[in-house]
């Protein structure tokens, strides 16, 4: 078995050891499965484990020992043997993919999502499918048909959402890297609450093929890791055009350079903006604001200049975001009707409307709420008042954000305005729950990349800081994170071992 210090290795460190043969992938995966077995009952990060993970691990060991005829191509695989946790709304061929919903409790995809395929191609091993808010609708991973995920740092707190399982798995060393999805902050929020990195890439940089749709025009597959170098490794493998599967994907892989190690550890010449409306908002908790100002002086010490700007249209961000997301969701989720896959009943002698209504009553309460609201804002007579206005507001917000980014390299904000709430604390008041997404949704509305960086702890509760950059400027975000990671050193813990 592998020692607990090894379990916490970064992916890039693990790959080095695997390639020189100092770690057996089979041992490593077995240890991790054992760790999941002992810890996950309390945390509930996983919905399903991959039955074939050990088999895949053995294959890699064979390659490294030269027992297989792959002609040494393993040496080029940058994620060789790395245990990968995949959010349960990302399709994995042959592994049940539930979206944490009863409606898909036994659905097994026939294909891998493009991003999963690419990571597997680089040697990653899918260790399991992680818990989430049903269909990605939530910010706490409490709205799951498989129970809430607990925050590994403080069990009675939420892990954040909707990619809570992936974030918790990383923080508890039950995976080395993870995939989440980010529609309005679903990667960054749990990353912040669990003290790991969460990157929401530029819209279209990662193929959405295989990501089960919630709000198509806003969502991206997001990358989660415990180190900046791991994020860079993942991004390099996962990014790139997938026009043969996804007409909204963009071809930009070649233009993104991710050579972090040769980068300076300072931020000289950088200009960052903070947004007055958010920093000064009453909804922002005091410890979060303090942490934000601390981060601000950190980047200034590294040579950056920070100024405050005002973006008045952000007032409409949440209304715009939720209107669009719910509208798209109401249509995307219409396909779950018990005919072709998923939860069903015998159709014999049942009238069709009755059949559909009965099957579809098995959605969870938040999903039903959003489908109903989405149906409302699209229905005749209301389209112009809600959906069209929301898209116009979105265009306005996007324009204003891009204008700010013309003058500044990045926008700096808290990731979440609040500390991780107690389980059960917020979920009964939907509107109040929506309000906590204010710092994150703006990147989705504008389609720009955003990264949550673990920054500090307050009474044992993690707090992240968030940077947003111009389209396709992921390298800048990683550079900022790398500089902060080096500067903060041991002051930030990213895994609890």
């Amino acid at each position: 078995m592998v020692s607990s210090s090894k379990i916490a290795l970064s992916a890039y460190e693990l790959v080095e050891e695997v390639k020189v043969g100092s770690i057996s992938v089979e041992d490593y995966i077995a240890s991790m499965i054992e760790r999941i077995g002992s810890m996950d009952e309390r945390i509930n990060a996983y919905i399903t484990l991959n039955d074939h993970a050990l088999e895949e691990a053995r294959m890699i060991d064979k390659m490294v020992k030269g027992y297989s005829n792959d002609n040494g191509s393993y040496a080029t695989k940058s994620l060789l043997g790395v245990p990968l946790a995949v959010k349960d709304n990302i399709s994995t061929q042959g592994i049940r993919t539930t979206c944490a919903s009863r409606m898909l409790e036994d659905y097994v995809p026939l294909y891998d999502a493009t991003v999963v395929k690419r990571l597997k191609g680089a040697g990653a091993i899918v260790i399991g499918k992680t818990n989430m808010d049903e269909f990605g609708m939530g910010s706490t991973t409490e709205f799951s048909a498989f129970g809430a995920t607990h925050n590994p740092w403080v069990y009675e707190r939420v892990a954040g959402g909707s990619s809570g399982g992936s974030a918790a798995a990383l923080a508890a060393c039950m995976a080395s890297i993870a995939l989440g999805s980010d529609t309005g902050g679903s990667v960054r929020c749990p990353a912040s609450f669990c003290s790991i990195y969460g990157l929401k890439p530029t819209y279209g940089l990662l193929s959405r093929y295989g990501l089960i749709s919630y709000a198509n025009s806003l969502e991206c597959i997001g990358l989660m890791a415990r180190s900046v170098l791991d994020l860079a490794l993942m991004l390099k493998v996962a990014a790139g055009s997938d026009m043969q599967n996804d007409h909204t994907s963009i071809d930009a892989n070649s233009s993104i350079s991710l050579d972090l190690e040769s980068m300076n550890h300072d931020l000289k010449g950088m200009r960052f903006a903070t947004i007055r409306e958010i920093v000064e908002s009453e909804g922002t908790d005091e410890p979060v604001r303090d942490s934000m100002f601390d981060a601000l002086s950190s980047v200034e010490r590294l040579g950056a200049v920070v100024e405050e700007v005002s973006i008045p249209s952000l007032r409409y961000a949440l209304a715009s975001y939720y209107t669009i997301a719910m509208a798209e969701a109401s249509s995307n989720l219409a396909r779950y009707d018990g005919v072709r896959y998923g939860y069903t009943a015998q159709p014999d002698g049942v009238a069709w409307n009755e059949f559909y209504s009965k099957i579809r009553s098995n959605f969870g309460s938040e999903v039903k709420r959003r489908i109903m609201l989405g149906t409302y804002v699209l229905s005749s007579g209301y389209y112009g008042r809600y959906y069209m206005k929301a898209q116009k507001a979105r265009a306005l917000i996007r324009d204003e954000m891009l204008k700010v980014l013309n003058h500044y390299n990045a926008i700096m904000l808290p990731t979440m305005p609040i500390l991780p709430p107690r389980i059960g604390e917020r979920i009964s008041d939907p509107l109040r729950l929506y309000m906590v997404d204010i710092c994150t949704v703006i990147a989705n509305l504008a389609g720009i990349p955003a990264l949550s960086i673990p920054y500090s702890m307050y009474n044992g509760l993690p707090i992240g800081v968030q940077f947003m950059a111009r389209h396709l400027d992921e390298p800048l975000l990683l550079r900022i994170a790398y500089a902060l990671e080096s500067a903060r050193g041991d002051k930030v813990r990213r895994c609890m071992i």
Binding site: Q244, R340, A351, S357, R360, R385
Partner: protein
């Protein structure tokens, strides 16, 4: 704002079966959330702003080359089948 009957109609449009007390709860919550969305009304956006929309050159679309799906049985997730058909409820 919406009443219970309108919410019942929404539930029908979305084909989601709901009990009476659920309908009442949703009516309350939907009204609260719609009231919040109504702030979009105050937004004075002229027609000079185009609604957000992604666009792409027509030449970027897919070639007309047929490739039959062969990676597995397309019906493997369907539970109500009869021969090669999928069973569904009857209209009416």
């Amino acid at each position: 704002m919406v009443g219970v009957e309108e919410v019942r109609h929404l539930a029908h449009l979305a084909r989601i079966g709901m009990k009476e007390e659920e309908l009442r709860l949703y009516t309350e919550q939907i009204n609260e959330i719609l009231t919040y969305f109504n702030m979009l009304d105050e937004l004075d956006i002229g027609n000079d702003i185009e609604p957000y929309r992604m666009s792409r050159e027509y030449k970027a679309m897919r070639d007309d080359i047929p490739v039959a799906f062969s990676a597995g049985n397309a019906l493997s997730n369907a539970k109500n089948v009869k021969g090669r058909f999928i069973k569904a409820p009857k209209m009416g």
